[in-house]
Amino acid sequence: MIVAEHLRKTFPAKGKDKAPVVAVDDVGFEARDGEITGLLGPNGAGKTTTLRMLYTLMRPESGRVLVDGTDVAADAEAARRALGVLPDARGVYKRLTARENIRYFGELHGLDAATIEARTRALSTALQMDDFLDRQTEGFSQGQRTKTAIARALVHDPRNVILDEPTNGLDVMTTRGLRDFLRHLRGEGRCVIFSSHIMQEVAALCDRIVVIAHGRVVAQGTADELRAQTGEPNLEDAFVRLIGTEEGLHA
């Protein structure tokens, strides 16, 4: 369970006498266990910055983040243990095999070899990566790299999973497989947050949708609630009405 309350983050502006750029302003939402929460918004809306505050890479200027009920500012390390994170940056180590990449993160989480081995086997099966698990990741396809990055992010069996645009650059088959995997995570009772700028994807997968535009939450709720709120029968039209542009509709 992840709760964000009144998050705000600004970045210093380049050049003199310019106002700081407000990336995220008063963003708050609740992501429950056993649900998939989607952060939907056009490029540059502040999704990645919001997520970075959730997984303690950035410190919010105001507001707070609660992971499983504890404030992440108080104990960032404990929060990181409770989170599995696929950041926007998902570089894997080219000279290590996929298995070694996963093991590296497992060891950093303080897991013992047997646990890492068992988790790797389980994730490899779930993500269908058996045939490239022991290859060096140099020359991996985008999909193989993403799967490796997801597996290493989840090696410590976290209750909460944050994925920043996980389907970016993946083909249709891999995307479908990934969606099944996310539903599988939800089925295990985990709290899953993922961000996307693609409306169809969020609609297909999410129990709750948080629409972000220009650093603010413009609406949140289930797909039906969003339709009801905007009075549009079609989710796509609802989205356009909410963010005020047609940006991000084209997958």
């Binding site: 890479l57 926007d88 940056a89 570089g91 180590y93 290590l96």
Partner: protein, 393 residues
Amino acid sequence: MKATFSSMKTIVQKELREFIRDRRTLMLALVLGPLLTPAIMLGILTLAESRAKSQIEKPLDVPMVGVEHAPNLVAFLAAQGIHRKAFSGDLDTAIRTQVEDVYVRIPGDFAKDWHEGQPAMVEIVHDSTRQDSDIPVKRIEAALQQYGQQVGALRLLARGLNPGVAAPLAVTHKDLSTPEARRGMVMAFLPYLLILSAFLGGAYLIIDTTAGERERQSLEPLLATPARRGAVVSGKIAAACIVGVTSLLLTLLAFKTGAQFSPGIGRQMDVSMPAIGKMLLILLPMLFIGTSLLTFIAAGAKSVKEAQSYMSVLMLLPMIPTIALMVSPVKNQLWMFAVPFLAQNQMLLKVVRGEEIAMPMWGVYLLAGFGLALVLWFAATRRYHQERLAISA
């Protein structure tokens, strides 16, 4: 604390594994570098030595102009191994075009002055900016001086005077340098070489695992793990230091092997095992300083390219004390052993020259060296805590 050490160990292992799998870089860092530098250095020194030897001992053929005016002088020079060489054409041009190193000119009124007992002029013509002419010019000068003194003494004797009257001073040299110290002179630039490879020995690994990891977008996931930032920095620095120490050890061993094969030079520097051990100990703080400083720089740089461009500046740093000492040599004082680069330079020279290093010097040196390394390490750790470090785009 235990968790921090275990994360550090994990990071060291992973960085070293990646480094070892990068075969070409491994070859460059651990084989080519440590072999090539001693080979080049010993080669150059052997070459210089053999050239100097041949120039001093071999008969010297020098063009001479106006030999008919001073046949006795020419005969004397020939007896000293300086022979006349036939040459046609303009000799000044030959010097300028570097065809000849030096020539001797005896003017027409030499015989007249000689007979009248006036100082008779002999000219040595050369280009002083050319190193090649140094030794021949000195040899001719010495021979001419000797001839002048001999004839002068004879003239005094002929007038019934003691030649000693005209030589009120008897200047001689008494060389008190130890044989070990004479070795040291040849190796004046060995310290620079060693300091440089200690200072920047871990550079590749540090830049690659800091700025490089960020550029390859793997730093953000790494920093999202529970591993402490301090452990991440220390692990990377430790991995670079292991590579650096290995490379230094190989360099020193290559010097040792090279010294055994190169007879002249081998006897000119102390390459015994205790000396190598001392040199490693001296270079250890430098290694820590270098890798911590580079981590600090690389963590602040926007790209690998930017981090690498600091290297050319950093390469100059160890040169400063070596050059300063060349220009104005100063006596060793205790404070010097607290100044980075200068301290290493002085300590290494002492080891190479086979001198004892007093305990207070070791104390000041190690304290100052590791102290600075600690400060830089702390600064690097602080930089790793910055938010913008992890953000690659």
